[in-house]
């Protein structure tokens, strides 16, 4: 069965405490190549049958209205896996 991926990230201008803590831990481990870490969510929506335009539109709607909170997050991708 096909899967739709929804990716949600904290808004770039907002502090991401989980990413900041992880960046600090990476630096302590000596992984010096990375200057920043931001952590978001990947949500997999399983679809029975074909992913039609209507199904994708519904995925975009729930991504905007429920799977993300537009006050603090952005939906960065809604795509078929």
């Amino acid at each position: 069965m096909p899967t739709i991926l929804v990716e949600v990230m904290p808004k770039p201008e907002l502090l991401d405490p989980a990413g900041k803590a992880t960046a600090g831990a990476l630096a302590k481990q000596g992984a010096a190549s990375f200057t920043d870490v931001r952590i978001g969510k990947r949500i997999e929506l399983t679809v029975e049958g074909e992913v039609t335009d209507a199904v994708l539109a519904e995925a975009r709607r729930v991504a905007e209205e429920f799977l993300s909170n537009q006050v603090i997050e952005d939906v960065v991708a809604v795509k078929v896996a």
Partner: protein, 234 residues
């Protein structure tokens, strides 16, 4: 007939019984409400209590904001009924878009549990009318995701319209922008805050005061505010 205040229990609510107890200590009848019902049982006001509804899955308060009873809570709030969200209840109110802004993980990444000093910034809401503006109070605070955020534009509007209800004093425990601990809607009937007034309602079990250990009952006035308001409307 006395004032009846409903307290909603969601899966993972933690402080629903404490909120019911605070309601009784303030002199009202506490009415337990169930998340799965479409019935608010004719109450005069509603408390959304603290806890970790749905394990904080997706986002704190996000799933609870879509619980069956929230349809009735949202309708009642929009019709002017006093609704108070404490901690997870505050998170539910912002997720339900009854209050502006959002709440994210504390900036230092840790969980905070302590007695917290607050300043009452708006004493004209349904839940703060027993205070005077500028009152300094102490109530317990305990959260991991209590950082209040909103856009600069929203923050300026909140400040300009007097919608900041409470501000942290002495130290900001979680990185909340502009030290905001709680906000109200324009009408003043919906109030949300991260600290826990229901834990400062009975001598012997509240925060320490200058007079005696654990004697702080500053939280009682949230509930007496709404009781007095309900009696005045009868």
């Amino acid at each position: 007939m006395g004032v009846r205040i409903g307290v909603v229990t969601f899966p993972g609510s933690l402080d629903d019984r404490d909120a019911q107890r605070a309601v009784r200590l303030a002199g009202a009848e506490a009415v337990p409400l169930w998340h799965g019902d479409h019935d608010i049982q004719g109450v005069d006001a509603i408390v959304l209590p603290g806890g970790f509804s749905y394990g904080d899955y997706l986002r704190c308060g996000a799933i609870a904001a879509h619980a069956p009873i929230m349809a009735e809570v949202i309708d009642a709030a929009n019709a002017g009924m006093p609704v108070l969200g404490i901690c997870n209840g505050f998170q539910i109110l912002v997720e339900a878009q009854l209050l502006p802004g959002g709440l994210i993980r504390n900036d230092h990444g840790g969980f905070v549990c302590r007695d917290q000093k607050l300043r009452v910034e708006n004493a004209s809401t349904a839940w703060t009318s027993a205070f005077d503006e500028g009152d300094e109070i102490v109530v317990p605070l305990k959260n991991g995701e209590g950082g209040y955020i909103a856009t600069d534009e929203t923050l300026d509007r909140l400040e300009g319209e007097g919608l900041v209800a409470f501000r942290y004093l002495d130290a900001n425990p979680n990185g909340s922008l502009r030290d905001i601990a709680g906000v109200t809607n324009e009408r003043g009937n919906v109030v949300g805050l991260m600290p826990h007034p229901e834990h400062a309602t009975e001598p012997g079990f509240g925060p320490d005061t200058a007079d005696a250990m654990r004697s702080g009952v500053d939280g009682l006035r949230f509930f007496t505010s709404v009781i007095e308001g309900a009696l005045a409307r009868v």
